[in-house]
């Protein structure tokens, strides 16, 4: 459903992506790992056009989205969850969730409200529907952010370090919700430093270093039988921490 072909991205004179290609099928849960500054987040942000790649193609549902006039429509189908949650601070949880479907005319206001409450109830968060973001915990914020994406009925969700800004005891509530999405067959691409989570959760893992895919494959193989030296040393460093 999503094919990335040889995309490149430069910031100023720093080449961040040096030609990355990746194929994502429906139901895939792809983990992207690699050292800081290797280009993982940039790759993710190119997929929904928050960054525009300099060259290459990103084909989603048979259309190239780079420079597309339909970028806004594409984004409705590609959800994104941020490290810092990015909830709208001036809106209640409910308003955060219903804003996009109503503004995008996917639902009427009362429909959106009903659906938002249903989704909140499924994860026992209906109590905070009328709270503001600064009144709830980090774990709650990230789950609200996921629901805010989910209500758009996306075909893929991109997770950019979804648990990095969380206190350790809250990581579980977010990963549990992600597991639930996986059980329902959601396609996901996850950039994360939580290697244990990636190993157990993802169907496929991609290791990026210096703007290139160095190794990719089944998650168990990547972690248990790494081939490339750079991947080996990366895993060692992380495990010795």
């Amino acid at each position: 459903m999503l094919t990335i072909k040889n995309i490149k991205k430069t910031f100023g004179n720093k080449v961040v992506l040096k030609g990355i290609s990746l194929n994502v099928n429906k139901g895939d849960i792809i983990g992207i790992i690699g050292p800081s500054g290797c280009g993982k987040s940039t790759l993710l942000r190119c997929i929904n056009g928050l960054e525009t790649s300099d060259s290459g193609e990103i084909i989603f549902n048979e259309k190239n989205i780079i420079g597309s006039k339909h970028l806004l429509d594409v984004r409705k189908k590609i959800g994104m969850v941020f490290q810092q949650f990015n909830l709208f601070n001036h809106m209640t949880v409910l308003e955060n969730i219903t804003l996009a479907p109503v503004m995008n005319k996917l639902m009427k206001a009362d429909e959106a409200k009903k659906e938002a409450l249903r989704l909140l109830k499924e994860i026992d968060l209906e109590d905070i529907a009328n709270s503001y973001p600064n009144q709830i915990s980090g774990g709650q914020k990230q789950r609200v952010a996921i629901i805010r994406t989910l209500i758009m009925k996306p075909e893929i969700i991109l997770f950019d370090e979804p648990t990095s800004a969380l206190d350790p005891e809250m990581i579980g509530e977010v990963t549990n919700l992600m597991r639930k999405l996986a059980d329902n067959g959601m396609t996901m691409i996850i950039v994360s430093h939580e290697l244990n989570f990636i190993k157990n959760f993802c169907t496929k893992v991609v290791f990026i270093d210096d703007g290139k895919i160095v190794e990719e494959g089944d998650s168990k193989l990547i972690f248990d039988k790494p081939k490339d030296e750079r991947l080996k040393s990366f895993l060692e460093k992380v495990n010795n921490k």
Partner: protein
């Protein structure tokens, strides 16, 4: 908001319209008794009496405009006013700019000193400090003939007298007629005049018909000794009996002759200008800030962005007094637009540049993640700005916007430069009648303070409400 704009415009319609009779616009600076001064809310005086005769002769309606003395020549030259009269003496320099009528009054420039100080003749004033009214005959004459006299140029001759009272200067040089009314018991007028001079009215070079008519009327009045009558009529009209106690001074400054009406008029204009300007300012500021933001985010509006950048740079880089004068004397040169409206436009344009910067900093204060979250949900630039960025910016910029409004209220005081009767000008008018600055100045200071305190209170309340909404 809409209602308010309507209100403002209806005020202009009411004040600006009505053209039954052709107008004769007289420009003066009403602080030069007995030639022109305020009494009971009206500008009266010898010059006004003469101008009224000229208007009567021409079958035109006399309209009087009160501006700063240095602006009178340019008012006439640019055609904003038909005739200028403010005890203006003949000088070659002035005659190059405008035509003078026949002289209607003789004046003597005299030296005033303190009784307890030294008595000087003009040569004795070398290296001494002498106060004069800026742009007056005394100023011109001494500047060109006695370069060693250290001149203190005051906007008003009243201030010059005050300088002498406070021993800030050694002498004052000014016209004899007002001098006789101004000297206090501690002062004395030197007998020997510095210069004897005569006054004429000024008329634009391209208006010989009016010059001819004015000369005809002046000659007739002089032949009938009418002008001497006028002078006698206006001598002593502003004297209030009583002591110099605080209560009597307050009475003279505020109550006598309905002088509080100036303060009310000034207050009305100050508020009208500040409120009108803040609306224009917010509209312009929003326009400039958004065109800049649109350009940065989408690359559209390139020219609008350049224009708004130039606008902000020019306005922030030049003094507001200068902007006001340019808008009045250059841009609205030939139009007979209501002067309060000019004030609203000028202060609005000025404020807009600052508001633009405030809004821009408000946009910048919003975390980039808020933009990205909006975009990632498929919202357009317009939707992100309207629903996510602006509402949060308002909260962040409210204190700065409030400050801007408070600054604006105080800044309207420079409106006096172009003759707007706002609070500061109102106090000036009163002081020009009472020769006492204390109460008018303190009173308007208190009024400014009350306005700004009320405003900050209002802004605080709004902040608290916004905070409550957010928490």
């Amino acid at each position: 908001m809409k209602k308010f704009v309507l209100l403002i415009f209806s005020v202009f319609l009411l004040t600006g319209c009505g053209r039954e009779k052709e107008k004769l616009v007289l420009v003066t600076e009403a602080g030069f008794a007995p030639y022109e001064y305020y009494s009971n809310g009206q500008i009266v005086g010898v010059d006004i009496d003469i101008a009224r005769e000229i208007a009567k002769y021409l079958n035109r309606e006399l309209v009087i405009k009160d501006v700063a003395f240095d602006s009178i020549i340019s008012e006439v030259k640019t055609g904003k006013s038909d005739i200028g009269a403010a005890g203006i003496s003949y000088t070659e320099e002035r005659e190059r700019e405008v035509n003078f009528t026949n002289s209607y009054a003789e004046s003597k420039q005299v030296i005033i000193v303190r009784k307890d100080g030294y008595f000087y003749d003009i040569n004795g004033l070398n290296k001494k400090k002498v106060a004069v009214q800026l742009g007056s005959v005394a100023d011109d004459y001494i500047t060109s003939n006695y370069p060693d006299i250290e001149l203190v140029r005051e906007k008003k001759f009243l201030a010059a007298i005050q300088d002498l009272k406070d021993s800030k200067v050694d002498a004052v040089v000014m016209d004899e007629v007002p001098a006789t009314k101004l000297v206090t018991s501690e002062m004395v007028i030197m007998e020997e005049p510095v210069l004897t001079d005569s006054y004429g009215m000024v008329i634009a070079k391209d208006n010989p018909e009016l010059l001819e008519a004015a000369n005809f009327v002046i000659n007739k009045l002089k032949a009938n000794n009418e002008i001497d009558n006028y002078l006698l009529n206006h001598m002593g009209v502003n004297d209030v009996k009583g002591d110099n106690g605080l209560i009597n001074r307050f009475y003279k400054s505020v109550i006598y002759d309905g002088r509080y009406k100036f303060i009310l008029e000034g207050l009305k204009n100050t508020l009208l200008i500040a409120l009108g300007a803040v609306i224009i300012g917010i509209v312009l500021g929003l326009l400039a800030a958004i065109s800049n933001n649109v350009y940065l985010n989408t690359g559209k509006f390139k020219i609008l962005n350049l224009l708004s950048k130039a606008y902000v740079t020019v306005i922030r880089g030049t003094p507001s007094t200068l902007q006001l004068m340019i808008i009045y004397y250059v841009i609205f040169k030939q139009t007979n637009i209501n002067i309060v409206l000019v004030g609203i436009v000028a202060f609005g344009i000025n404020s807009g540049a600052y508001v633009a910067e405030i809004i821009r900093s408000g946009f910048n204060s919003i975390d980039k993640g808020q933009w990205e979250a909006g975009y990632a949900l498929g919202l357009s630039y317009k939707q992100v700005v309207g629903k996510i960025i602006l509402p949060q910016s308002v909260h962040n910029i409210l204190p700065a916007l409030g400050n801007e409004f408070i600054t604006l209220v105080k800044e309207t005081s420079i409106g006096a430069y172009i003759g707007i009767v706002e609070l500061t000008k109102a106090s000036d008018i009163i002081a020009s009648r009472t020769y006492d600055y204390f109460f008018p100045l303190i009173l308007i200071a208190i009024i400014y303070l009350i306005i700004t305190l009320l405003l900050s209170r209002l802004i605080n309340l709004m902040e608290v409400r916004l905070n409550n909404a957010n928490n």
